[in-house]
Symmetry: D2
Subunit: 353 residues, 4 copies
């Protein structure tokens, strides 16, 4: 198969760079355009990155000239790691031109005809794109903390029914990126508020775990309460979760549900071997040590035990830059191409490759 | 009034050093003995401290020779910042000799005739010491995280009745002290387990908020579920708390309860001006900035709002070294002397001063 | 004596806040104006601070309305903690109106008629202000790293003559303040370049240690080579220094020079008890532990020993926010008032108090 | 070629684990034994590691039983990552049994018949092993900081002659490992002393850069002065270096020397593509970003410029765990096998494979 040419919008940021890293030797996709804000346009990519996350860039990407986000060339697929301030306009523009957009931005996540997709969790929501009016189709991946939470909750919900979820997050600095809090503000400290984050963590899982009925998502009827904090950790969102269930459960029956979920997971090129990795050792998982399990695409879970207030509680760690952002977006692109190959063969998008 | 001579047991550790700092110009107490493990005995105090927290030590204390913990001199009052491995034997020994012991160690905390005391929260438990059989009397202050939690819960419980408490802690490194996790293990990381901590956070508040009936504590009938984590912050335990209440409440009625609690707080030399400090700013409190409010003796609270699973949720910060350890112990000593001055006038303990 | 009313220009930044903290109970000065950029004007000071360093602000200061930096009221003395981008214009404006300016900004530091002053090191340069043409007089304190370095070098130079100085700095995040590097860029990292810093560290000490001849400073004839790095430490600049001397020296003769320097230090209200604090313990000084020695106004020195390439080497730590910025500026104001009290009695400046 | 079976002594520590990671798919060597202290013996390797650095261990290694360091089986090659307290006895024991030892411990580094080897820098010292009396031969890699420093100095010395080197190190926590300083001691701090480190940095490069004459090393006649500090960075030793040269040099002639050195580097399986990586960008290299360049085997250099005291100065970063320890040891083993294949074919060592 010839590779699909793709563009990365917002290529110089932390998520954009991670997307590039993951795409370097991808079997299905090939980077053709790196687009960013005016400050970077015209520079080689290596010059344009102010805060690099990775330096084993192939020469062709290091030297690729950065385009502006309104470039003229037709491209079948664009990954958007854009700031939410500009994402609506730029993504809409690409959709209008027939480019399919895989977006990490929050802007369209809760729109009724946009799948908020985690392959393996709610792949059945993907056909929502058929209702989209635009020439190009858009899929969103969820908020970085939600990506891990929804994966862990899915098998629990499926087998036992979720009634309540209380979650306290300890989120890493990479989630805010290079425009995040100053080192003087964040080192040796906890920042107890992340603007808009608790709302996302409380709403997005309900859409993801919701039911597709008549081309509409019926959100999960479950209460979620989130308290989101920023901690001085570079990468890896960690959270403490308590759940109340509809049916009786035991520690071993929940672990069985995790196992069963792992076994039937989708097998796309970027899928982890195990969607969930459970640790018997009480001292694990830890962000520094376990963020890259299964190339950063597996959710690590530990200390599953009874909760005296709700029913069960556990810890959870995910690689927010990979599973929670770039890797999750890539998996969504793979799911789209896997299920709707014809979208990439239409004359409109295929014109250049 | 002549000052009461006191000993500090475990003087070279983090809590011991903080006790010394707080006692330097105390109106009621005067340090006469610094005792520590064999490694330190015979050295001057300044030489014995391997990891100092404070260097404006008065010359007399810097040069004071460190004693072993079985010194012969009679002393009316001893502050114990001992490791729990040795605390039972050493504290019992002092009690047998008529020394009153204010202990930060966990060993006797849950013993039925020992007050687990936070003046202003459960001062009415202090008379438990009258049932103690030993010549000297012992009072314990709670676990460092519990010290802050119990203070915040008290006014809520009093006005609205506590049914459930779910708490996730982000605890500072000073809680583990210089024998705590290595920097290579803890920097840029979260450690998801602190041995024995969750049990303490779930049990101790029930004793503290319990009722004294017939010289016994009837523990509070309330469910508490704790998830305790260590974060790379030097000092200041932070936690996210959710509570379910017996009676209806509003944000403003809870804030009113906090205010009322502040107004009737006990006024001992080490009491804070306000036991609770509430922040309207959603970005506060923060460990780096607010740990020393009211000299580290006030609990900082923020983001009080409705919880969609239980009833209300909020953040809480306390200075674990001060309020949670050395300062809490000192306040207990003040409460003891204030209520039972005669204990310090008996010939047995008064012999040397 | 009636207190001198003072303004703080750039009051909401890290240095501005520290100045306020140091002035709260100052015997000679009293804050009358807090001025900052347009973003803050009209707010109460407590609302205007985005990243507070201190929260035990007296009510009157917490509620003081922030002025713009072109306020009309006459004020005899202004402390400038302004950004260098705006300092030239604003400081000049105040000087023209007869306000004396104590500036922490770099803009006028190397101007020939401006004393680059560290009382106790080069108090004899203060009369340079007599050549200044403006109605108000201006004194600058040096770059934060230089403040500590020059203090340590002074007694060495005086007794042994400096020929060469090689210094590698490990500078704290507070030196860059809240607009400094992002936490994602700086945590768990070293930033090997601080724009313009090496030039300042190489030039400013030569002016400070220079000779006043015919109302001009003859810079010290000494070679200084600096390598400046930013490390993930909140406060406290640390540096490794090697020196080559004109005359033979021994470790003990240099320590003697330090002692002699301490003994004849000036005694202004903000002067430390000892300008230099030497540690015999090889593991000291450390930024976390020793930054506040002598209220942050003493330079801590350790590991003085022979250097096989130059003559001697040692470590040095200073509190960059206090001695290196706010405290150094305050000491300069005290030196000015102490030596030129008449400047504060002239009708022009005294009009309002 | 059949792979050589190897043992790792001190397998559970930070360096031991890194050795395992590097050996997992090595073309020449295959792990047959993991040996560690008594605490670990008999456990599976995965259970024995208290502080894991890596979790994608192959199942066979994860489950391999940990041996004690006096196991009976004959093994041709052992990598020693032993603590210096036990290294002399254990390494000697293996040498006596005919096992070749590649040691990261300091114990035999300065012994006259032991090559202190960095392939590409002093490969000509390897024949020193021919003078060794033991049945097995031993090669040492240098101190972690020295590994990077010697590589950078080699081309400078070769082309311009080194007279003086002044170096200030900012060393990472992984250098001390899990038994290193506590997080409470090291976070937000600089530790100004590392026991024995300055001596190693001052002595070892002279041996490495020395001349082999009559089967003896004539140490380099050059003055080296080191100041070694520990900073809160997990991995990646950074240092500021100044050098005085015998012959005139320019920035571009030194960069030319670096390039020439890169071109003639040895090409063993673990050799980096470039031994030295120079950065034009003044803000680079940085430990967080560049520690893994060329799989952690390249030394990163930046800010090469004139020094006003000596001749030139620059920054240097190396991956202390890879190039400075495990990777350096592995390269030495490759150099040994490459040059003396017969050592691995003798009946004594070859018996088991």
């Amino acid at each position: 198969m010839q590779k699909i040419p793709v563009a990365i919008l917002g290529a110089t940021g932390v998520v954009g760079q991670k997307l590039i890293e993951l795409l370097i030797s991808h079997p299905w996709f090939e980077i053709k355009k790196l687009a960013a804000s005016e400050r970077s346009v015209g520079k080689s990519f290596i010059e344009a990155i102010e805060n690099p996350i990775n330096f084993d860039l192939p020469q062709n990407l290091a030297n690729m000239k950065v385009s502006s986000c309104d470039f003229e060339d037709k491209i079948p697929l664009a990954f958007s790691a854009l700031d939410s301030k500009v994402a609506t306009e730029i993504e809409s523009n690409f959709l209008g031109k027939g480019t399919h957009v895989i977006s990490n931005a929050k802007n369209f996540r809760m729109q009724s005809d946009v799948p908020l997709l985690i392959p393996g969790v709610n792949s059945e929501h993907l056909p929502l794109i058929e209702s989209q009016k635009s020439l190009g189709k858009i899929i969103n991946n969820p908020n970085c903390a939600v990506a891990g939470l929804a994966l862990a909750l899915k098998p629990i919900h499926k087998m036992f029914g979720l009634k309540k979820v209380i979650v306290t997050t300890m989120q890493a600095l990479s989630g805010a990126g290079n425009k995040g809090p100053s080192a003087y503000a964040a080192l040796n400290n906890i920042l107890p508020h992340i603007h808009g984050e608790e709302e996302k963590v409380e709403q997005e899982p309900k859409k993801i775990l919701g039911q597709l009925l008549n081309n509409q998502i019926l959100p999960l009827n479950c209460k979620i309460s989130a308290q989101c904090n920023r901690v001085p950790v570079l990468n890896g969102h960690f959270m403490s979760v308590s759940v109340e269930l509809e049916k009786p459960a035991t520690q071993s029956s929940i672990l069985f549900a995790f196992d069963a979920f792992n076994k039937k997971a989708s097998k796309l090129p970027s899928s982890p071997q195990n969607a969930l990795t459970y640790f018997e050792n009480l001292n694990m998982p830890q962000p520094k040590i376990h963020q890259n399990i299964d190339k950063g695409m597996s959710v690590s879970i530990g200390k599953l035990r009874r909760c005296s207030c709700l029913d069960f509680k556990f810890n959870l760690l995910l690689n927010n830059l990979v599973l929670g952002a770039a890797g999750g977006a890539l998996l969504n692109a793979e799911a789209l191409l896997n299920r709707y190959p014809e979208l990439f063969m239409s004359p409109e998008v295929a014109i250049n490759y």
